[in-house]
């Protein structure tokens, strides 16, 4: 039985940091580089400040990362001018897999040949000094977007660069992104990231952590998203993080989105408070449709607008936007700026006084909450002194089972399908401990759809590609 608590905190963190930044790719980074720099960083670079100052509408964050400094600088400027509230820094996949030498080689080639050989910004190859210059005159937060199982050095360099929102987590950056990286080690490495974020936080200017709720972005049932978000919030809180955002992706069903947002907010607060982490501030982030996007630009624009509406309706604190080129490849800065304007238009024109309630949403929310509670309580009851051990065990036993995860140890027993309303339903729960009444309810809600379509796999193909 694991009780989340500050006892899990890494105790000898400074010695541990010493070892991590002994890496030659840390270059001249020291343990104090970040601390001295963050002390003078404009307050508005901190997400907690941006969130505190925001009005009714969600803050807007586009996506983007390109290999060279010059291009990243241009992109940053364009996104800033377009009205983005958060500036993204997406990291290339070689850096994500700790292949810093390869990233540096490909960066050199990209610079020489003026052609992109990397799918993001190689932060470690560029180093923290140069990266600071990207954001010299910026007065909004920069968000690190990556997908790295072992992000210890990356997080050190990010903090020293003045990037104080770190996305990721031991579960959400392992199961969707990796085939073979062991989850236990990923959880331990993320303890380190959480710990150094806490270490560089002050009450007024906390370093912010954000979990990645979309996971595989393919038919993940909202209750499991809620579970993963709660676990990562608790794991971060254990290490002393005080500013944390949970997130989820547009499900494809507006009512399910409303219900998911309600439950997510409620349960994250509930579990943080019940383990003594009342001091942790939480925020809710909504990701626009993360699945296959329509290739037709008009349809893509419509999807972006519609999802902005939902983001406003659920009262998200931040929305991460897509572009009309999503299905076509890496968007240009101009296309990115266009997406920001699209969403900005919606937020400027509409007001969502209160969340839309209906019996339909209530039923959905009850179901998600009940399922999420059963799973999370079952995980607390698993053997293990510390929460991360129970999380690891839960994964080994299929208690956490993420549809379409490429990870070789994922159980793949849970099968989902959309009901007639487009909501994601659990058709078969595998080893995920959901109460019988909830399983029955899921099947009832699914019945209308199943009769109409026959084979699951055919429906699932339609479900996965519902927007394209």
């Amino acid at each position: 039985m694991a009780i989340p608590s500050a006892h899990a905190r890494i105790d000898d963190i400074e010695k541990y940091r010493e070892r991590v930044i002994a890496h030659p790719w840390a270059q001249d980074l020291t343990r104090d580089s970040a601390r001295s720099y963050l002390g003078d960083l404009p307050r508005r670079r901190f997400p907690a400040v941006a969130y505190a100052e925001k009005g009714d509408a969600p803050l807007i964050q586009p996506r983007g990362g390109v290999p060279t400094f010059a291009d990243q600088q241009a992109l940053t400027r364009q996104l800033d001018e377009a009205g983005a509230d958060f500036i993204p820094l997406t990291i290339d996949s070689n850096t994500r897999h700790n292949r810093y030498d390869v990233a540096a080689e490909l960066l050199a080639r990209s610079e020489e040949e003026e052609k992109n050989y990397l799918n993001g910004y190689p932060l470690i190859a560029h180093g923290f000094r140069l990266t600071r210059d990207l954001y010299r005159d910026l007065d909004k937060p920069v968000s690190l977007r990556h997908g790295t199982p072992d992000a210890r050095l990356l997080a050190e360099v990010a903090l020293a660069s003045g990037i104080v929102e770190i996305e990721g987590g031991g579960i959400c950056y392992c199961l969707p992104y990796s085939e073979g990286f062991p989850l236990d080690r990923c959880l331990l490495y993320w303890q380190y990231v959480d710990r150094i974020c806490a270490l560089h936080s002050t009450d007024a200017a906390p370093v912010h952590r954000e979990s990645f709720g979309p996971l595989t972005a393919t038919m993940v049932p909202p209750s499991l998203v809620v579970v993963v978000q709660i676990l990562e919030a608790l794991l971060a809180a254990e290490q002393g993080v005080t500013s944390f955002a949970v997130s989820f992706a547009q499900t494809g069903s507006p009512s399910q989105d409303v219900a998911t947002a309600q439950v997510l907010r409620k349960l994250v607060r509930h579990y943080l408070d019940s383990f003594g982490f009342e001091a942790v501030n939480t925020f809710l982030v909504y990701h626009q449709w993360m699945g296959q996007f329509p290739t037709d630009r008009t349809c893509a624009a419509a999807l972006i607008t519609a999802s902005a509406q939902i983001g406003g309706m659920i009262g998200a604190d931040k929305i991460v936007v897509k572009t009309t080129d999503e299905a076509l490849g890496v968007p240009t800065a101009a296309i990115n700026a266009e997406a920001v304007r699209n969403v900005r238009y919606v937020f400027d024109r509409f007001r969502w006084a209160d969340q839309i309630g209906s019996s339909h949403v209530e039923v959905e929310a009850e179901l998600i909450e009940s399922e999420a509670r059963s799973v999370i309580e079952a995980i607390f009851d698993l053997p293990g002194e510390l929460l991360w051990e129970s999380v690891f065990r839960a994964f080994q036993q299929g208690v956490i089972d993420i549809p379409f995860s490429p990870h070789i140890d994922n159980a793949n027993q849970l099968i989902t399908m959309r009901d007639a309303n487009g909501s994601i339903r659990i058709k078969e729960s595998g080893n995920v401990p959901i109460q019988q009444a909830d399983r029955k309810r899921e099947r009832e809600l699914l019945a209308s759809r199943e009769k109409a379509s026959g084979k699951t796999f055919r429906s699932l193909l339609v479900d996965i590609n519902m927007m394209s």
């Binding site: 085939e179 393919t218 549809p403 379409f404 995860s405 490429p406 070789i408 793949n412 099968i415 084979k455 699951t456 796999f457 055919r458 699932l460 193909l461 996965i464």
Partner: protein, 145 residues
């Protein structure tokens, strides 16, 4: 007669899992016992797995055009293990560049495949083919080898 057993998996360095899981589900729903080797497989993985489960058929997927590189001696791996007559199917995006369906089908038939589904998403059709082929017994292609 017991349930027919099918080995499936992705060949080469391809890590696309969505299609793989859908095929698994489709075959299970059609009543087959499915053994999923997931991603990053070589021909010997398919042949040895077919021996371990005494498979009736093997479904190979490749989405990134690596199929041609990996599959050229596919049937011979099964012959070497003494299971020459397993039905061999291959589908996905099998070759790099634009080539006609007929050319690709002919090429993979030479490699020893019984059915080839290049750039086709017709899972139902493949399952119907499999049921028909199984009703005839084993692979026709095997005899040619």
């Amino acid at each position: 007669m017991s349930v027919a057993r099918v080995v499936i998996g992705v060949i080469g360095d391809d890590i696309h899992v969505v299609g793989n899981r859908i095929i698994q589900l489709a075959l299970s729903e059609a009543g087959f016992e499915v053994f999923n080797l997931l991603t990053r497989n070589r021909p010997e993985h398919f042949a040895q797995a077919a021996l371990e489960v005494n498979a009736d058929a093997v479904f190979v997927s490749s989405l990134n055009g690596e199929g041609e590189f990996w599959c050229s001696d596919f049937r011979s791996h099964f012959v070497a293990l003494g299971i020459p007559s397993v039905l061999l199917y291959v589908g996905g995006n099998l070759v790099v560049g634009r080539r006609s369906q007929e050319d690709v089908a002919r090429l993979f038939a030479q490699f020893g495949f019984d059915r080839v589904y290049h750039q086709s998403a017709d899972i139902d059709g493949a399952i119907a083919d499999l049921l028909e082929d199984l009703s005839h017994g084993h692979s026709e292609r095997a005899r040619a080898h």
